[in-house]
């Protein structure tokens, strides 16, 4: 179950709703691309 870490608003077209901001579950073994080391060197919150 994703952890809710904040609240926000989301508007797509005419529809505007309150929305949960959820923590993304990151598996560092599945992360690639620009600046991967930035995440690997830092501890996860």
């Amino acid at each position: 179950m994703a952890r809710i870490i904040g609240k926000g608003m989301l508007k797509i077209g005419e529809e505007e709703k309150e929305v949960d901001i959820v923590e993304a579950e990151i598996d560092l073994n599945k992360v690639s691309g620009v600046g991967v080391e930035k995440l690997k060197h830092g501890s996860r919150k």
Binding site: L10, K11, I12, G13, V22, V34, G42
Partner: protein, 158 residues
């Protein structure tokens, strides 16, 4: 001794002419039949501890009821802003996550307290993917919260 000036017709660039700019845009995989604004803003509380990062998504992942960009749609990210109420060095990043949980980090920008990433209509997320947003705290204090916003366009494809 005078310096010889090469004439325009002898290979010297004509600096008086305006420079043409062609902005490359991704080739559409389908015909765009509709566009809608995508605007999201929120607060994360608390912010990341010193030396750590926070990664987040919106709602179910992409919207209130969709984990990923729905079929026959495309999301174009225009602008991403992050700020914290403390004068600390932060990095803000954006990744592209597919349905298998693989994340490709696309872009980072670093600065103090506030970061604005402007993609000028060049970054798109196809169906079955979604953006993941990151903030790294390089400072020595934990901000009480993180303010962020995203502006983009959702396109419906035929």
């Amino acid at each position: 001794m005078p310096i010889p000036v090469i004439g325009k017709r002898s290979g010297r660039p004509d600096y008086s002419k305006p420079i043409g700019v062609d902005v490359p845009t991704p080739k559409a995989k389908g015909t765009v039949v509709k566009q809608s604004e995508y605007w999201a803003a929120g607060e994360i509380s608390p912010g990341p501890a010193p030396g750590s990062y926070t990664a987040w998504c919106v709602g179910m992942g992409f919207s209130v009821d969709a984990e990923y960009v729905p079929k026959k749609q495309r999301f174009r990210l225009l602008k991403f802003t992050v700020s914290v109420p403390a004068y600390i060095t932060i990095s803000a990043g954006i990744g592209l996550e597919d349905a298998a949980g693989n994340i490709t980090l696309l872009y980072w920008e670093s600065g103090n307290q506030k970061i604005t990433v402007d993609f000028s209509y060049l970054r798109s997320f196809e169906e079955g993917s979604r953006p993941v947003y990151f903030i790294i705290n390089y400072g020595d204090v934990q901000p009480d919260f993180v303010d962020w916003s995203v502006i983009g366009v959702v396109e419906w494809l035929e």
